[in-house]
Symmetry: C2
Amino acid sequence: MDELPGAFGTSASFALRLGQSVFSSASLIFMCLDVEFYSYTAFCYLVTVMGLVIPWSVTLLVLDAYSVFVKCLPLQRRLVSLIIAGDMVLSYLSLAAACSTASVTDILPDVGGYYCPPKLCGRFQLSAAMAFLSWFLSSASCLFNFWLFPSL
Amino acid sequence: MDELPGAFGTSASFALRLGQSVFSSASLIFMCLDVEFYSYTAFCYLVTVMGLVIPWSVTLLVLDAYSVFVKCLPLQRRLVSLIIAGDMVLSYLSLAAACSTASVTDILPDVGGYYCPPKLCGRFQLSAAMAFLSWFLSSASCLFNFWLFPSL
């Protein structure tokens, strides 16, 4: 089997996972740190989803790093299908969380300025933007692995 | 090439496209008919996206119907890749629209009851639910075609 850049166990995949870990952690930090986010369902949802995405991408980052730098792991059909399923579910969830957060942040200043001081709103927007980036990388990983799958 | 249920030109694909057309039209109708939706970006976005999804799924519905009932169309690599790309973009857009609408509808009664009388909110919720169903079918179509693609 020839190696597909971006699929599990390649350096491109390592870079994608690194990006996912960084962006999802940034999104969580912007949303949580010193901010009361409990009042809105969408924000709690973002925090929950990022709490799932971070361990997932860190685990795969470690596996990829091992595969790239230490010893190439064998590509098993079952492992790759598990990765595809996880990536797909998490990428849909993070897109959903990013969109919900973005739309709630967009609507808050309209319906009553006191709900969202500009500085706080800016942080929510940043958090949504980071979640979008994390979604993008995660869906790229999913597509590369899906592309590889039939050749296994 | 053996026929894959759900890929372009099969009766399962015809059923999927029919579902997409019905649900996206229902979503548009629930959102637009006799309602002022212009005030919120998320609702305008849903209407825009559904305005793209409806012609796309109706066109493919017609193609599938022709292929199933009249004469089997040849599966060209270029055509299938075009369908995959379109389905993927539109499924992401409709998931984003559905999530935005759902979260805005969720937050409206909290921040000021007069913004959303219960009957109106119910319609917005229905519209978001229809958009979710349309997203689900559209992403299923995309995955089936993507699965078929490497064998072409």
